[in-house]
C-alpha cells in the first residue's frame, strides 16, 4: 500500500527530463523564481498603479500619480463608518473565536475532560464546511421573515415581530466568530503544548496559590502566544469576504472587503476600479502591519519556549464535578455549530422551503438533489471544480517543492528571495488579490476563463504549501540527498527517488489541504465569475440568489459531504501516522 503511494509520488517527475541538462536544479529554480515573481508581483503592481489613476479613469493602465482615489477613500463620513464597521466586526469576531477556542483548547489539553476526542474530531471535520455554507444555514435559521428560530420564538412567546435578525452586525460577528473557532482552537492548542508546564508546577511547589499562579506565571507565559493568535485571526477576519458578502450586503453593513467587491463588480452603477484599488491598497497595508506584529509576537513567544524533556506529560487538572457543566457547554457548542448544517439538510429534503415541523415530514423527498444534479450549470460547475481543485493543488504543491528546496538547501540569495515572495500572499487579503488578478487579466483573453481562477488560487495557496514542505524538508537530513547525488543521481532523480518519497505524508497532507480550500473558496470565483468559469462555490451562490432555496441547500449538503470524504480519512490517517512516528 505504502509502496503504491510512493510510486504515485515518484510519477510526479518524469525520468527522461532528469538527464536532459546538467544544472537542471538551477534552470528549474530560475524558471520557478520568474514564475513566482510574476504571479505575486504582477497583480500587486497593477493594483497600486490603478489606485494612482485619476478618479473615474476608464483605463486601468498607469497614467501618472494621482492621489484623488485615496482622497475619496478617506473622505468622511462614509469612510469612518466603513472603518468603524470593519474594526467592530474584526474585534467582535476575534473575541468570540478566542473565548470559545481557548476554552476548548484548555479543556482538551489541560484537563481530564471526557469529550476530548469528540471535540478534536468535530474541529478537524469542520475543515470540510465552507464558511459561507454555514452562513446560508444561519440565514435560514435567523432571517426575520421565516427563519426557523424566529418562528419558534414567535410561537413560544406569542410575539408579533421576529425578535432576531441575521441581517445585522451582531449576527455577522457571531457567525464569523463561530466559523473561526476550529482554527483558533488548533492554534491555541499549539500555544498550550509549547509551554513548559513545569514552570507552573514550580510555582505551586513554592507556595503559589492556584489563582496567583495563573495570574503571575501562566498568563504572562501564554500572553505572547495568545496575542499572536489574536493578531493572526484579526488578519483573517479583515480578509473575510464570504460571510459579510452573504449577510452584510442585505444587512447594508459594509466592511472593507465587501466594499471592494461592490466597487469592483459594479453592484451600484459602473465599476470604480481606481477607488476599489485604493481601498485594496489600504487593506493591504493594514494586513502587512498585522503580519509584522504577528511575527514580532511569535518571536517573543519563541523566547519563552522551553524544550520539554522526553516523555514529559503535563499534569492534567481534574475537573471533578465541573465535568457536567463543561459537558453541557460543549454539547451546546456542538449544537450551535451543527444547527446551520441541520437546517440546510432539512430544506434540501423539501420541495419548497418550510419551517421544520412534524407535519412537513410527510413531504420529504430527494427531488431537489435530482433537480440540482440535472442542471447543466451544475454539471459544468462540477467539471470545472474538479479541474480547478486537481490543477491548483498539484501546481501549487509542485511549486512549493521547488521553492522549499531552494529555501532550505541552497544558501544563495535566490533561495531567500523566492521564499519571501511565496510568503507574501499570506499578507495579501484574498479579496484584494482576487481583485488585482481581475485588473491584470481584464483585457486579456484569459479573463473569464477557469485559468484565471487557477492562477489566483495557486498564488494564494502556495504560501501554505511552501510552509508545509519546507518544514518537512528541514527535518530531512541533508546527507540522505547527498548520498543519492554522489551515487550518480541528478537533482531530479534524487528528488524523485529520495526526497519526495520521504516527505510524502506532508506532500499528501498539503495537497489535500489546498484541494479542500480551493474547493470551498467563494472569494476568488465570485469576483472573477463569468458564465464560462462557474465552479461549485459560485454555482451555489447563483442558485441561492435565484432564489432556489431547496436546490442551494441540496448543493451545499453535497459539497459538505464531498469535502468530508476528502478531509476525514486524511485526518485519521495523518493522526495515525504521526502517532506511529512519535512511538518510534
Amino acid at each position: 500500500m505504502r509502496h503504491a503511494l510512493f510510486a504515485a509520488a515518484a510519477a510526479m517527475v518524469p525520468t527522461r527530463l532528469a538527464r536532459l541538462f546538467p544544472g537542471e536544479e538551477r534552470i528549474i529554480g530560475s524558471v520557478v523564481f520568474v514564475a513566482v515573481l510574476f504571479l505575486v508581483s504582477g497583480p500587486l503592481l497593477i493594483l497600486i498603479s490603478t489606485s494612482l489613476n485619476p478618479t473615474g479613469a476608464a483605463s486601468i493602465l498607469p497614467s501618472g500619480l494621482d492621489i484623488s482615489n485615496y482622497v475619496r477613500a478617506f473622505s468622511p463620513p462614509d469612510t469612518l463608518y466603513l472603518l468603524g464597521n470593519t474594526a467592530i466586526y474584526t474585534l467582535g469576531s476575534v473575541f468570540i473565536a478566542l473565548l470559545i477556542g481557548s476554552s476548548l483548547a484548555w479543556l482538551t489539553e489541560r484537563t481530564d475532560f471526557r469529550l476530548q476526542v469528540a471535540v478534536r474530531l468535530m474541529i478537524f471535520a469542520w475543515m470540510a464546511v465552507p464558511p459561507f455554507v454555514s452562513a446560508l444555514g444561519w440565514i435560514q435559521l435567523l432571517n426575520p421573515g421565516n427563519g426557523a428560530i424566529n418562528v419558534l420564538l414567535r410561537t413560544v412567546f406569542d410575539l408579533q415581530a421576529s425578535p432576531l435578525s441575521v441581517y445585522s452586525l451582531p449576527a455577522m460577528i457571531l457567525i464569523t466568530g463561530l466559523s473561526m473557532t476550529p482554527t483558533t482552537f488548533i492554534m491555541i492548542s499549539g500555544v498550550f503544548s509549547n509551554m513548559d508546564h513545569r514552570l507552573e508546577s514550580a510555582a505551586h511547589v513554592h507556595g503559589g496559590a492556584r489563582l496567583a499562579t495563573f495570574r503571575r506565571i501562566t498568563l504572562p507565559l501564554l500572553a505572547p502566544g495568545l496575542l499572536a493568535v489574536a493578531i493572526f485571526q484579526s488578519m483573517t477576519v479583515i480578509q473575510t469576504f464570504d460571510i459579510p458578502f452573504a449577510i452584510g450586503l442585505t444587512a447594508r453593513v459594509p466592511v472593507m472587503s465587501t466594499r471592494i467587491y461592490a466597487l469592483a463588480t459594479a453592484v451600484e452603477g459602473k465599476p470604480e476600479y481606481g477607488l476599489a484599488s485604493a481601498y485594496g491598497v489600504v487593506l493591504l497595508v493594514i494586513a502587512i502591519i498585522l503580519i509584522g506584529l504577528y511575527l514580532r509576537f511569535t518571536r517573543i513567544g519563541e523566547r519563552f519556549r522551553v524544550v520539554t524533556g522526553k516523555g514529559f506529560r503535563p499534569v492534567r487538572q481534574k475537573l471533578g464535578a465541573a465535568q457536567i457543566p463543561a459537558t453541557v457547554l460543549v454539547v451546546a457548542y456542538f449544537v450551535v455549530m451543527l444547527l446551520p448544517l441541520a437546517i440546510l439538510l432539512w430544506s434540501s429534503l423539501l420541495p419548497y422551503y418550510q419551517t421544520p415541523s412534524i407535519g412537513a415530514l410527510s413531504h420529504l423527498t430527494l427531488q431537489s438533489y435530482r433537480n440540482t444534479i440535472a442542471q447543466p450549470m451544475i454539471i459544468r460547475a462540477l467539471g470545472n471544480t474538479i479541474i480547478l481543485v486537481l490543477s491548483v493543488a498539484t501546481i501549487a504543491m509542485a511549486l512549493s517543492v521547488v521553492v522549499s528546496w531552494m529555501a532550505v538547501r541552497s544558501r544563495g540569495t535566490l533561495g531567500k528571495a523566492v521564499t519571501a515572495l511565496t510568503f507574501a500572499p499570506i499578507a495579501i487579503p484574498q479579496i484584494v488579490f482576487a481583485f488585482a488578478i481581475l485588473l491584470l487579466y481584464l483585457y486579456s483573453p484569459l479573463y473569464g476563463t477557469l485559468l484565471v481562477i487557477i492562477i489566483a488560487h495557486v498564488t494564494i495557496f502556495m504560501a501554505f504549501g511552501t510552509r508545509m514542505v519546507s518544514s518537512a524538508m528541514l527535518q530531512l537530513h541533508q546527507e540522505l540527498e547527498n548520498a543519492a547525488t554522489v551515487s550518480g543521481a541528478s537533482w531530479l532523480v534524487s528528488m524523485r527517488r529520495v526526497v519526495l518519497p520521504l516527505i510524502f505524508p506532508q506532500l499528501l497532507n498539503g495537497w489535500l489541504w489546498i484541494a479542500t480550500h480551493s474547493a470551498r473558496d467563494l472569494t476568488v470565483p465570485i469576483l472573477l465569475m463569468t458564465s464560462g468559469n462557474v465552479v461549485l462555490a459560485s454555482a451555489l451562490w447563483t442558485i441561492w440568489e435565484y432564489p432556489d432555496i431547496p436546490g442551494a441547500s441540496a448543493l451545499a449538503v453535497m459539497m459538505v459531504v464531498g469535502l468530508m470524504l476528502l478531509v476525514v480519512p486524511l485526518q485519521i490517517w495523518s493522526a495515525r501516522y504521526s502517532n506511529r512516528s512519535a512511538g518510534n
Binding site: 510512493f6 538527464r19 546538467p22 544544472g23 544558501r411 544563495g412 537530513h477 546527507e479 540522505l480 547527498n482 548520498a483 543519492a484 547525488t485 554522489v486 551515487s487 550518480g488 543521481a489 541528478s490 532523480v493 527517488r497 529520495v498 518519497p501 520521504l502
Partner: protein, 369 residues
C-alpha cells in the same frame, strides 16, 4: 590518483568570514589509504565535500586520474553525480523507505547505458556478500542495527566500482567494541579491493592504525603530512604533538649552545634536560619538549640521581588502572607528567620515584608565544 591544488573554500554567510579550507594541496596515489585527521570543525568534511562536488571551492584545482573535475581558473566543475565516486556519510544516510537491496542497487540504476536487471542483481549481491549482509537484502533499512547500516552504506559506496571511496567518520557513530571490529574489517576490505580511499576522522588511533598516509588538518590548513610512523614520532608542531602523540608538552628554554652533534641543555620546570636540538633552534630559544609516555622510564625511588643527566625525583599519585598498564601522574614541584607504570608492581601511593627522560625519544619544537 587524486590531486588537490591550492584548494580554498569559504562558506557563504559564515560568521565570522573565515575560510573553512585554506590553500590545501594533496597528492593521493592510486590504491592508497589516505587519512584526513584533525579536530572537529577543522574542515575535513568540507574538503571531502569539495572532492565529491557537494560543495564548490572558491579556488584551486581538483584532478582525478589526471582529469580536472574542478578548476577555479578555467571554471570547470563536474557535477557530483558525474564524478563516479562512492561515499559513506557520517550518519550513513541509508534511505529509510527502501530495502537494503534497493539502497545498494541505486548507484547501479543510475548508470548509463542502463544495466540489465540481472547484472544489477548479481553485482548487488556480490557487494552485499563483501560486507556479509546477503541475508538481510530484503529488510527495510530502519530495521537494521547501527553496524549493519554502516555496512550497507559501505556496500552502496562500493557497488559501482567508484574511482575513489570517500569515508566521512564512518566509525564514529558505533559503540566502542563494534568500532574496533569495523576498523579491522574496513581496513581489510578496502585493501583487498585496492580502491583509493580518503578517510576522515578525528580519532588519532584510527588514523594511525589504518592509514598509508595521514594529512593532519588544523583550522582548514594541512599542517603535516606523512606516514603514521613519521607523524607519531616526528610531529612538526605543538599542535601535531598534542593531537597525535597525546604526550606531555613541557615548556622550556635552551640554555647552552648546541655542540657538533647538536646536543644542548634545556631548562624545564622539573630540571635540566640534555637532548639533541633540530636545526634552527639555538641557545636562548623558547621551546616545547614533547615527552611521550614511551620516552619516560620509571625507576625505584632510591636510584641514584646526582650526576646522572635526565634523571629526576618525582612523587607519583593519581594512578588509574588501564588494564595492560597503569597511568600515573608524576609530580615534580608544580609540573605534572603522565607516566606509565608496570601493573604487576604493587606500590604505595603517593610514592617517591625517579624518572628517566629518554632524550633520543623526545622531540624539541619551537615555542611561539
Amino acid at each position: 590518483m587524486l590531486v588537490l591544488r591550492h584548494l580554498t573554500k569559504t562558506y557563504h554567510g559564515a560568521r565570522p568570514v573565515v575560510p573553512s579550507v585554506r590553500d590545501v594541496s594533496l597528492e593521493i596515489p592510486r590504491g592508497s589509504f589516505f587519512t584526513l585527521l584533525g579536530p572537529s570543525g577543522c574542515g575535513k568534511t568540507t574538503i571531502l565535500h569539495c572532492i565529491a562536488g557537494l560543495e564548490t571551492p572558491d579556488s584551486g584545482d581538483i584532478e582525478i586520474d589526471g582529469v580536472a573535475v574542478f578548476s577555479g581558473a578555467s571554471g570547470c566543475n563536474e557535477p557530483p553525480h558525474r564524478r563516479r565516486l562512492g561515499m559513506v556519510f557520517q550518519s550513513y544516510a541509508i534511505w529509510p523507505h527502501m530495502s537494503v537491496f534497493d539502497n545498494v542497487a541505486f548507484p547501479l540504476q543510475q548508470q548509463r547505458p542502463r544495466l540489465a536487471a540481472r547484472d544489477i542483481k548479481a553485482r548487488v549481491m556480490t557487494a552485499l556478500s563483501l560486507v556479509r549482509l546477503e541475508a538481510v537484502a530484503d529488510k527495510l533499512a530502519p530495521f537494521l542495527s547501527g553496524g549493519q547500516q554502516q555496512r550497507v552504506a559501505l556496500a552502496r559506496a562500493l557497488v559501482h566500482e567508484p574511482r575513489l571511496l570517500l569515508l566521512d567518520e564512518p566509525l564514529s557513530n558505533l559503540d566502542a567494541k563494534l568500532r574496533e571490529e569495523m576498523r579491522v574489517e574496513l581496513g581489510r576490505l578496502v585493501r583487498q579491493l585496492g580502491i583509493t580511499t580518503i578517510f576522515v576522522t578525528h580519532d588519532q588511533a584510527e588514523a594511525l592504525t589504518m592509514s598509508d598516509r595521514i594529512a593532519l588538518i588544523d583550522a582548514g590548513r594541512v599542517v603535516q603530512q606523512g606516514a603514521p610512523h613519521d607523524i607519531y614520532y616526528r610531529p612538526n608542531s605543538t599542535f601535531a604533538a598534542r593531537f597525535v602523540c597525546g604526550g606531555n608538552i613541557v615548556p622550556g628554554t635552551v640554555v647552552s649552545a648546541p655542540d657538533m652533534q647538536r646536543q644542548a641543555e634545556i631548562d624545564t620546570p622539573f630540571g635540566r634536560v640534555a637532548c639533541a636540538l633540530p636545526t634552527g633552534i639555538n641557545a636562548g630559544d623558547d621551546v616545547n619538549l614533547v615527552v611521550r609516555p614511551d620516552s619516560l622510564r620509571v625507576c625505584n625511588g632510591d636510584a641514584p640521581v646526582d650526576g646522572r643527566p635526565n634523571f629526576f625525583h618525582v612523587d607519583i599519585s593519581d594512578v588509574s588502572f588501564m588494564g595492560d598498564f597503569i597511568e600515573g601522574i608524576a609530580l615534580s614541584g608544580s609540573t605534572a607528567l603522565r607516566v606509565r607504570l608496570d601493573p604487576h608492581v604493587q606500590v604505595q601511593m603517593p610514592h617517591a620515584a625517579v624518572v628517566e627522560v629518554i632524550a633520543q625519544r623526545c622531540v624539541v619544537l619551537p615555542r611561539k608565544e
